[in-house]
């Protein structure tokens, strides 16, 4: 009863009147808001005033210490040449950046310049994702003069156009990292491995076992790199696992089985590694539990600087009987521009200049002071200052050997984890190699077909 009496203080008519007044006031306030902004001063002579409005350039990049340091160098450098551009740096965590990039592009509210990884966009038509920057960036031929062409081929680009500027690459599987203390213990000349078999042999000699035959220190662990490594090995054996023209996946082949068997033997025959010693190869390295691994060239700097484990990088050498020396470097970090910029020449020029500055020699040299991965820029390694940079020489050694033999399958599968899990099951002896390869093909084929059908329609 109390509530009923209380509610009768305001009649329905009064309520509707109040609501109408409130709604009207809100509407008026909303309409009046733009007019409330101060008006631009009119030119004295009555002509239109020259535009002094600054360009706001929104930059999305992955939030990690290295990128923050690079941005701190790049932004003031950029401002020297572009005083009229306000750069709004937005550091976004890896997972968030991945999750929001495509939906934001679809909604048209993405950043103007965006850091990306090539495997984020393999399942799309890249021309729908990023702006064609071939001409603003100086032309494809000029870019391929400055950078290795393979870096532009990580994603199928229609018409040979350039939709991203390649920047950094960790090259998981295409590089090996070594604990130099362990190499010295066994007097292993890791810089002169000629074949992959020599790596395996070194791994055997570096592996330490306890009395029960359990691995207590892994001489060579392929655990984090076995999936990309499988592809490199299949290619080197003269086989193929994906036909770009037909879209057919075919790990189930003589070469596929031989490559998988080679990896399997590392665990069960050569016993350079097992699944019991550690759960994370990256953490194991810092505990000196692994002597050689393929987690990516970038780990050397992290392990050396943070974990204080002396690490060096080398390119994964070819198989002794390789029909062709090819390496799959997984993915590349790069920079793409928003398609919105096509209608805003001033902002487009600023965005291209900003991206070119990041991937150019000056910024890259800054990056290689604390990053041991590779950059795709030949210019960077041709710069004499490279030798003075902490990881310059090692990065140069790996990049100059790896990029010329790098290859990407240009498939359209965005998520490889289920296929990678199948290979891991085979390595763990949970299913046979044949079963794993067949399961991988089934999953990847389904994903490829879905993507191709979608792209075709």
């Amino acid at each position: 009863m109390l509530s009923r009496n209380h509610s009768q203080h305001v009649s329905r008519r009064q309520f509707l009147k109040l609501s109408a007044v409130g709604a009207g006031a809100s509407l008026l306030a909303a309409c009046a808001a733009p007019g409330a902004a101060p008006e631009a001063p009119a030119a004295a002579d009555g002509s239109a005033a020259p535009s002094t409005a600054a360009i706001d350039l929104v930059v999305w990049y992955q939030d990690w210490d290295g990128a923050n340091r690079i941005m701190n160098w790049v932004t003031p450098e950029f401002a020297k040449e572009h005083p009229d551009v306000n750069v709004d740096l937005q550091a976004i965590g890896f997972a968030d950046l991945l999750a929001k990039m495509l939906p934001s592009i679809a909604a048209g509210n993405e950043g103007d310049v965006m850091m990306m990884y090539t495997d984020w966009v393999v399942a799309t038509d890249i021309s729908q994702v990023f702006l064609d920057i071939t001409d603003p960036a100086g032309g494809a031929a000029a870019l391929e003069e400055k950078m290795w062409p393979a870096a532009f081929q990580a994603v199928e680009a229609p018409g040979g156009k350039v939709y991203y500027l390649p920047w950094l690459a960790g090259i998981r599987g295409a590089a090996l990292s070594v604990n130099t203390d362990h190499m010295a213990e066994q007097s292993i000349d890791y810089l002169n491995f000629k074949t992959y078999e020599e790596v395996i042999e070194a791994g055997r000699s570096l592996t330490q076992l306890n009395d029960a035959g359990k691995v207590t220190r892994s001489g060579y662990s392929p655990r984090s790199s076995q999936y990309p490594l499988l592809w490199s090995l299949i290619w080197q054996m003269g086989g193929n696992f994906f036909d770009k023209e037909t879209g057919k996946w075919s790990h189930s082949s003589a070469e596929g089985e031989a490559a998988a068997q080679l990896l399997y033997d590392l665990y069960w025959t050569d016993k350079t590694c097992d699944f019991e010693l550690f759960t994370s190869e990256f953490e194991a390295v810092s505990q000196q539990l692994v002597s050689m691994w393929g987690d990516g060239a970038w780990t050397a700097s992290v392990q050396t600087d943070v974990a204080e484990v002396p690490v060096d990088n080398i390119v994964t050498p070819p198989l002794a009987n390789a029909t062709e020396y090819v390496l799959y470097p997984q993915h590349i970090g790069g920079w793409g521009l928003s398609k919105r910029l096509v209608d805003d020449t001033a902002k487009l020029d600023a965005g291209v200049d900003f991206a070119l500055l990041i991937v150019g020699p000056d910024a890259s040299l800054q990056a290689l002071e604390f990053y041991s991965g590779v950059v795709p820029s030949k210019e960077v390694y041709a710069d004499p200052r490279i030798e003075d940079v902490k990881y310059g020489a090692v990065s140069k050694r790996v990049a100059e050997s790896m990029w010329p033999v790098a290859r990407f399958p240009q498939d359209h599968v965005a998520q490889h984890a289920p296929a990678s899990d199948e290979l891991d099951r085979a390595m763990r002896n949970e299913i046979t190699i044949q079963e794993a390869l067949a399961n991988m093909d089934a999953y990847l084929q389904e994903q490829e077909d879905q993507a191709r059908e979608r792209l075709a329609s």
């Binding site: 309520f15 799309t124 994903q447």
Partner: protein
């Protein structure tokens, strides 16, 4: 409206005359309208708009980036001829039937056992069996992944300890689905047991006393008294479980079996929409799941109503 008394004589109940919608709206208190509007707005934003968008999307071809393209019922006809869809549907039905069947039977037996306990022991065991319910499912999944490990896993350690052969569990295409089913049954057992125990506690003791005097045994009392009287609770649990199991995603995503051995419709929808970026087809499959669930729920509720009237 007519209802029937226990004696069988009909009672006529005069239905109140229904006021028109506009009339009722005009009579309503302004505050009631505000409260109702708030809920309606919330419901519209979090359910009606996304649901409507999902229906609209199921008739489009869209990859997040390009302009959505109307494709009519193509996404639905495609599902009917898609072997992967049927495979996922089969896994979903198999999983749901076994999970709900085993879950209900085990929860009933557990509740029955607990109903014979009193005081602290009942509370102790109830808490023990309810623990998995309050444990985050993701934590449980990772725990079970470790228990199920083919090499070095705790369950295989136990099996080999008592001389039984080790099992591949999640690594086997034939065992993976049932291994996941066991985890979900374990995780939900406490919920069913609590509900059934509450239902059993509501059964009048006099009925059991009368049955005992008539010489009924334990199982006779269970099947002739307990089970019929807690049928509404069981049916409620089944309806809720059907909806929950068909939509279940986390265990299949986080502890998958080899190949497509554990890919259910919920996981397939996710893969279509967010991995293959085929949002239109993904939405169509999710709409099919919705229709299947709606049909199953309506069917069960009708059965429930019939048995209740009976």
């Amino acid at each position: 409206m007519t209802q029937t008394t226990m004696a069988g004589s009909p009672i006529q109940i005069k239905a109140a005359p229904r006021a028109g919608l506009l009339k009722r709206f005009r009579r309503a208190s302004p505050f009631a309208l505000i409260y109702a509007a708030a809920i309606m707005i919330f419901y519209t934003v979090i359910f009606i708009i996304p649901f409507g968008t999902g229906i609209w999307l199921s008739f489009q071809n869209w990859d997040f980036l390009t302009t959505p393209k109307f494709v009519g019922v193509r996404n639905f006809t495609k599902a009917l001829s898609d072997d992967y869809f049927w495979m996922a549907l089969q896994k979903t039905v198999l999983f749901s039937v076994v999970e709900i069947g085993a879950g209900v039977v085990l929860a009933l037996l557990l509740a029955l056992a607990l109903s014979y306990m009193r005081g602290k022991w009942q509370h102790f065991y109830l808490s023990l069996y309810y623990l998995p319910v309050i444990t985050p499912l993701v934590v449980s999944i990772y725990l079970w992944r470790w228990l199920y490990r083919p090499t070095g896993g705790a369950i295989n350690g136990l099996l080999s300890g008592i001389g039984l052969p080790e099992q591949p569990f999640l690594a086997s295409p034939t065992q993976a689905l049932w291994s996941i089913t066991a985890v979900i049954v374990w995780a939900h057992l406490g919920t069913g047991a609590v509900l059934f125990l509450a239902g059993m506690n509501d059964v009048p003791e006099s009925l059991y006393e009368a049955a005992r005097l008539d010489g009924a045994g334990f199982w006779q009392m269970f099947f002739k008294i307990t089970l019929p009287l807690i049928r509404p609770v069981i049916l409620y649990q089944v309806v809720v479980s059907v909806i929950g199991t068909v939509q279940m995603f986390e265990p299949f995503f986080l502890m998958p079996g080899p190949g497509f051995s554990t890919r259910t419709l919920a996981l397939y929808t996710y893969q279509l929409g967010f991995q293959a970026l085929n949002l239109g087809y993904g939405a169509a499959v999710s709409l099919i799941i919705f229709v299947l669930l709606l049909a199953a729920t309506v069917f069960q509720l009708r059965r429930w109503q019939m048995s209740w009237e009976h």
